[in-house]
Symmetry: D4
Subunit: 250 residues, 8 copies
C-alpha cells in the first residue's frame, strides 16, 4: 500500500465512495504478516514513504520469492532485492519475474518508477568501486531519483575531479564512494555546497582492513557536511540520499 | 561575503550600477588571507552557502581572536567557535565580544540569525549526552534552523521515546545522539520517515572504548535512512542537518 | 550417571539394598576416561546437573562417535553434539544412530527428554540469525525446557516486537539474538522483567567485524538485566538459560 | 509504586474499596516525568519488579538530588546511586540524606530492604578487584539478596579457590570478578552447577587493555553456564544475579 | 657441523692430529651458502647447539628439497621441516627420503636422535589443540627430549588436570597449549614449580579472534613463571623448552 | 606523451618549426579520456615524470586491455600492470602483447627501458617475501633503475646480513622487505647511510595479523632514515625509490 | 616455610627428633590465611621453590604492611614488593623496615639472599627502558641470581650490541628488554644459544600503542628460542629467568 | 668526528703528515663510550653522514647534559635534542648552552650549519599540526636544508592548496603533515613529481584514535610516491627528507 493509496482510501471515505467497514477491513489487515522465517512490513511505505526492501544475503531463494510475492500481493509496486549474488538470482528468477543487475548485485521485481526527480551525483575514487556505486545508483533510481554517475575521479589525479566541478555544484546530494584512503569524501565535501554521504568500500589491500581505513578517514573528514554509512553500503547511502533529494521537491 | 551579497554584486553589474572594474577588484581579493598560522576562507559562504566556522581546540586564544576579527572584517555576520573550553573562552572574551555556552562549549561572535526555518529534532539517549546535543543544537540555531530538544529518551525505557512519536514524525531531519550501545539511532530510524544523522558519544565505560561501541552500532544500524558522523561530533551533524532542513524551503 | 541415578544409589546404600563395596566400585570408576584424544566427563551430570555435551567442530567423525559411545555406555541418556556440519553428520550417522538438525547444526544421539518445563523465549532480529537461534532452541529443548520462537522482530520495525510484549512479559528467561547493531537486546531488556541473555551473531557486513559490533553493543546495553555470551554462541546462551529457567521449578 | 502496590490497587478495585476513577487517576499519572535533563521512570518497579537506579557518573550533584527526590516522592523506598565518586557524594549529601560506601562508590537514599533471600556468591581473583566486587555486593543487598563475599581466590593459587568448593556449590548464582587474564570465570564455571555471571575488571597492566583481555577470556570461556557483563560493571552483574536468585523463591 | 664435531676438530689441533691449515679450510667454508632463494645456515648447530630448521610454509617443494639436501651434505644429521602440509609433503617425498607426521604437519629427513633426556610435559586444553601439541611434541623429540603428552585437561573440568598433579610437578618444563580463553596456562603455572611456556591456539569461535583472546589471557596470566610464544607456535615453544630442559643435564 | 616529448614540442614552438595552433591542439587534448569505467591519465609522465601504471586487481581483463591500448596509443612506451594474477594475465594476453612475471604478479606491455641508472638494493628477510620483492624489483627496472637483489638476509642470522655490508653502503636507496617482526628495516637502517623504504609483508602466522606486526615494527623503528609503505606494497616502495635514485643523476 | 625447612621437618620425623603430632600441627596450619582483603600463600616456597611476592599496585600501604608482616611471621626471609611507587613506599616504610629502589619501583623487606648463582644477562634497547630493566634485575637478585646489566644496546647501532657478543654467549638466560619496534629480541635471539625472554616496554610514541608494537614484534620474532612476557613485566621475566638459571646448578 | 675529518685523517696518512700509529690511536678509540645509562655513538657521522641526535623524552636533564657534552667533546658541531619539553629544557640550560624552540620542542647545542641546500617543502593540513611541522622544519634546517613552510592548506578548501602548486612542483622533497583524515598526503602526492613523506599527526577527536585514522589513510594513499613515518614523527620525516634532498647535490 503506497502512501498515495492510503490518501485515496481516506478520500474515498470522505466522499462516501468507500464504506467505513470496507476501509477498516483494508486497514486492519495486520501491517506485517508472519511467514515464519520473516515478517514483511506492508505498511512501511505508509509510515516511511518508501517501500520495504529485501536484503538478499543470508536468505534462501525460496524465502526471497516468498517475501517478494507477499509484498506484491499487498500492493507494493516495485520490490528491490539487494546483495543478491548471480547464482541466487537465477534461482529466484525460476519463481518470479525479476530483472537482475550483476555489477550492483541488485534484483528488481515489479515495475520501475517512471517519474524521476532532482539530481543525485554518485562519484567513485576508482574503477574497482563500481559494484558499490551501481548498488547505490540502481537503488536511487528505483526510489525515483535522477542519478549522474561520475566514476574514477579519485584524488590522486585531482584534475579529473576538478573538471567536474560544475556537476558537483548542481547536485542536491552527492554520494562519494571510495576505498583505499577514502580522501575523495573530504575533497568533494570541500567543493560542494550540498550534503555529502560518504561510502567507504572494501577496495584496497594491506592495512586497508577491508574498508576500515577509508571508513576512519571519512569519519574524520576535515570537510563539513559529510556523513558516513557502513563499508560497501551503497544501498544505505542511496536510501538516505533519496530522502534528501526528494525534500527539494515538496 | 554572503551568497546574497555576491548576487547583488552581479546584478549591480547587470544593471550598470557597479562598474566591472570595481566588481573585479572586489571579487579578486584573494578568497583567503594568510595569517601565517591560518588561512581563513572568506568566500566559503559564497561557495557553500554557510559561513566559515572556527574549530577552537588546539588553537590559542590569540589565534582565535585573529581569525574571528579577520572574518568579521570581511563581512561575515556570525562567527561560530566550537570546542572552546571555558578557560580559553574567558581569554577570547578579553579580545572580542563573545557569547559563551558552557555545556555545548560553543562561543558565538557577531549577531545571531533572526529568522529560523524548518524543524530539526535532536534526541539523546541519556542526560550525559547533553554536551554533544547542545553543541549540535546551538550550531543548528546559528545556521538558522528551528530546533526541538528531546533529551533522555534512550531505548532502555522505550515508552519514553514512543510518547514522542508525533514530534519525530513531523521533523525534517533528526539528529540521534547516544553513547553506550547507541541503539537509539536504529529505533528512531525505524520510526521516522526523514533522514536521521546519528552521533555516537564517548559516554560509557568498560568496553565502550570512548564511543566506538556506539559508533559501530550506528554504522551497522538495521534501519534505513541513517548516516553517521564522528564520535561527539555534534557540530558536524548539525551542519549537515541544516543543509538538509533548508532544502525543504528552497 | 544422571543426578537422580546417584540419589538412587545412595538411597540403596541407606536402605541396605546395595552393599557399600558395590557402591564404591560404581562410584570409584574414574569420573572421566582417557580416550587418548579426549577425556569425556561421566560425572558431569552429577556435579552440574547437565549431561556432557560434545563440541563437534575440530573433532573428526571417529572421535565424535568414540566419545558419544563412551557417554552412552556410562548411562548418559541424551548426547548433544553442537557445531556439527552436514557432511560430518553424515559420517557420524554411519557409526551411531543420530538425529540431525541442519539449520542449527545440531546432532542428537539417544532419547529426547519427554518432560519440558518453564518458558524460554528466543527472539531474533532477522531471518539471517536463524542458525544461531535454532542452535539455542534445540539445546534448550534437549535440556528439558519449553521454548517459544520469536523470529525477525528486529528494532528497525519496532511494532513487530511490541506486538509480542505479552509473550516477552511471561517468559522466565529471554535469549535475544541479533547481528548488525545488536540493538534488540537493549530494547528487549527495557521491556522484560526477567533475565535477558544476549547473543551477538556474525550476521552483517562492512564494519560489523563478524559480530563484534553487535557484541560491543550488547555489552554496553543501557538496559539492566542483560548479560552476554560469545558471538554465535547459541548453545552457551541456552545452557545458562536452562539453568535459570529450571530454578523457577525447584 | 512497587509491584505489590499495584496489586493492592487492583485488588482494591476488585473488592470495591477503591473507585475506578481514583484508580485511573493514580495510574494515569504519566509513568515518567520530564525534569528537562532527565525523565525518571516511576513505573519501572511495576514493569520490571526492580526500582529505578541512578547512574551517578556524568550527572551533576544537583541532577542526582533532583532525580532522587522525584523518585522518593513517587513512592520508591530505596534509591541506589552507582558510580558516585567521593567528592560528588559529599555534594549530594548536602541536598538529601545519603549513606555512602566509598570502596564500591555507591550511595543509598531511603531505607535498606530488611528481608534478604537466597544466596549470591561474589568471588574475586585478587585484592584489587574489590571496588567492582563491592559495587556488586551492595547492589545485590539493596535488591534484597543474601551475599557471600569470597575475595582474592584467583587461579594462580588454585587451592585457595578449591577450599571454598562447598560455598560455590551451595550458591544460587555466582558473580565471578577478575582482571588480568580473567581465568577465574572458567574455573568457577567448571566447578559450580548454577549460573555464573562473569565481570571482567580493568585491573592489570601491559596488554590487559583496561580489562579487554579479561573480557575476551570470559567470553571465550570453555566452561558452560557462564555469561558476561561489561568491564567493571559490578552493578549489571548484581542486577541480573538478583533476578535469577529471586526466581528460586517464587 | 654439530657442536661436538667442532670440539673434536679443535682437540685434533691441540693434540697435533689435524694440521692448522686443514682446520682453517674446514672452518672457513662460509657458514651459509646462497641458494638464491635461501641462505641455509650450516654453522647454526655450532653457534646455538641446535640444527637449522626449515619453516615449510611459503616455500615450494623444490626449495625445501634444495635446502634439505644442502644441510644434509654439510653434515647435519636430522632436518626438521615444520608447517608442511600433506600435499607438499608428498611432493617433497618425491625428491628426498622423508618421514611425515600429518597431525603435527612435520616432516623429518635423516635419523632421529636416539638418546633423549629430561622431561617436557605438553598439556592441552582440548582435543582440538592436538595439531599444535604434536608440532611441539615432535619438535621436542627431534631435539632429543623426553616428552609426556597430557591432552584434553582444560580447566572447565579442573579435576582432569588435578589428577595429573604429580606429572606436572616432576616436569623440567611444561608447555601449556590452549585456545578459547587460554586459562590452562594460569592454572598450570599456579601448580607447577618449573618454567611454563604457554602456546595460545587459534581454536575457538566468535570473539576468540583466531587465538588473540587466548594470547592476551596468557600474557596477562596472574601466575608467575609463565612466558608466551606466538599463536599456534608449537615449534617455538618446543625449541625453547628443549634449551631449558637440557640445561638440567649440563 | 613523455616529458621529453613535451620539451621537444615547446622547443618546436620556440624555433618556429611547430605552429602555436598545432601545439595548442596537441596539448589541449584532454589529459585523460573517459572510458566509462576508467579515466586513464595521459599527461602523468609530463606532470610527474613517470608513466601511468595499471593496478590490475579488481579490474576485468577487458578493462585492462582497454586502458593499456589507450595509453599505448597516446604515446606511452611501457605499460606496467601490477597485481595481475596468472589467470587474468592469460586473458589479457589474448587481447594485447604482454610479458608476464608470475612471482611478482607483474605484466608489462610495450618495450622495457634500455638505460638503467644508479643502484637500488632490495633486501628481504626470508624466502617467503619474494613475491613482494619481485613486484618491487620489476617495477624499479621498468622505471629505469639498476636493482641488486639481496634475498633471505633476515636478522635471526645477523651474519648473513653483515656479510653484505658493502653492498648496503653503496646503494642510493634500499628497500627493506620483511614479514614476521619486520626487524630487518631497523638493522638495515642502522647500517646504511641512504634512505631506507620499508615494506612489511603479510608473511607470518599467529599474531602477525597479515603484516600488521611488521608494519607497526617498521613504523616504530629506532633507526632514523626509515619510512614505510603499505603491507605488501612492493610497487609503491619501488616507485618512490626510483624517484630518489634518479635524483642522484640530475 | 622455605623448601629446605620442609625437608628438615621431614628428616626430623625420620630421625625421631620431631614427633609426628608436632609435625602435623606445623604442616596443617592452613597454607594461606584470610586477611579479608587478601589470602597470602605461606606454602608457596614449598610448592614452587620461590617465596610469595606482593604486587604493590592497587593495594593500600596498610594492606602491603599487613601482608608483609604475615609473610615474615610465617618464616619467609625476604619479601619482594613490586610496582611500588615512591609515595606509597614512604607510607609502607612508616610501618615496616623496607629498602626502596626508585628506578625499578621495588621494595624489599627482610634480608637479601647472600649466595647468588649462574648468570642472567639483562639487555635493553635504550636508556628509557631502565625502569623495566631494574625491576627485572632487582627481582633476579632477590631470587639469588647473578645479573649482568647491558643497557642501551639497541639495534639501530648494531655494533654496540655486537661488541658484547661474548657476554651474550656466556649467559644462561638473557632478558631482552625493548620498546619501539622491539627488534632487540630477534637479534639477540639470533646470536645467543640460551633461552631469551623478551620484555616489550611501553617506551615509544605514535603508533607504538603503549608497547603493543614491540609486543607483536617479539611474538613474531623470526629467531627461535624466544618467548615473551607482558608489556613492562620485568618481574615476570626475571622470575622465569631465575627458574631457568637455577636449573643449571641442580 | 665528521665524515670530512675522517677523509682528512686518511689523506694525512697518505701524504705522510700523520703517522699510522697516531691514526690508529685516533680511529681505535671505541666508536661509542659507555655512560652507563647510554652509549652515544661518536662515529655515526662517519658511518651515516649525519650526526647523533638525542631523543629527549624519557631521559633526565642530567642524562641529556651528559650525552651532549660527550658528543661535543668528540667533535660533533651541532647537537639536536628532540621531544624536549619546556621544563626539562630549562633544566638542561642550567648545564649547557642551548637554544630552545618551544613549538617544535627542539633544543640545539653548538652552532647551526651556515650552508643550506636544495628545497624541502613542509605542508600542513591545519593550524594544529604546527608542533609536528616545526619539529620537522628545525630538524631539516639543523641538517643543512632549505625549508619552505606551507601551513594550513588542508583539502577541505582545496583552492588554498592549489594556489601553491608552483611551490610544490619545485620542491625536491615534500613533507605532508596532517591529522584528522590525512587526505593531504594523497592530494599532494597526486600533484607533485618528487617523493612525498607523509606524517600523520595525533590532531583530531572521536574515532581519530590519536592519529591512527590519518596513519591508515596515508598508508593506503592512492597516490604513488608517498611513504609514511610514525604518528607525530616530524623528526623522522625531516631526517629522511634531508637524505633525499642532499642527493640532488652530490
Amino acid at each position: 500500500m503506497e502512501q498515495s493509496d492510503m490518501r485515496r482510501l481516506l478520500q474515498g471515505i470522505a466522499d462516501g465512495s468507500i464504506s467505513i467497514d470496507d476501509a477498516m477491513l483494508y486497514i486492519k489487515t495486520e501491517p506485517f504478516s508472519d511467514l515464519g522465517y520473516a515478517k514483511p512490513d506492508y505498511h512501511r511505505s505508509v509510515r516511511q514513504g518508501v517501500p520495504e526492501v529485501i536484503f538478499g544475503q543470508g536468505k534462501t531463494a525460496e524465502q526471497i520469492i516468498g517475501i517478494t510475492n507477499a509484498l506484491l500481493q499487498h500492493g507494493q509496486q516495485t520490490v528491490l532485492i539487494t546483495r543478491l549474488d548471480k547464482e541466487k538470482a537465477e534461482a529466484v528468477k525460476r519463481g518470479i519475474s525479476l530483472t537482475y543487475y550483476e555489477t550492483g548485485r541488485i534484483g528488481i521485481a515489479g515495475e520501475m518508477p517512471k517519474m524521476r526527480k532532482g539530481k543525485i551525483v554518485i562519484a567513485t575514487g576508482g574503477t574497482c568501486d563500481m559494484p558499490v556505486a551501481e548498488e547505490a545508483a540502481l537503488t536511487a533510481e528505483v526510489l525515483g531519483n535522477n542519478v549522474v554517475r561520475l566514476y574514477d575521479v579519485g584524488v590522486a589525479g585531482i584534475h579529473r575531479l576538478l573538471s567536474h566541478t560544475e556537476e558537483l555544484m548542481s547536485a542536491r546530494v552527492i554520494i562519494a564512494i571510495a576505498g583505499m584512503e577514502g580522501a575523495l569524501a573530504s575533497v568533494v565535501g570541500g567543493i560542494a555546497d550540498c550534503p555529502v554521504i560518504a561510502v567507504p568500500t572494501s577496495v584496497g589491500y594491506g592495512a586497508s582492513f577491508g574498508g576500515v581505513a577509508a571508513l576512519l578517514s571519512m569519519l574524520n573528514s576535515c570537510a563539513s557536511g559529510v556523513s558516513v554509512v557502513n563499508v560497501d553500503n551503497g544501498f544505505g547511502a542511496a536510501y538516505q540520499a533519496s530522502m534528501i533529494n526528494r525534500m527539494g521537491d515538496d
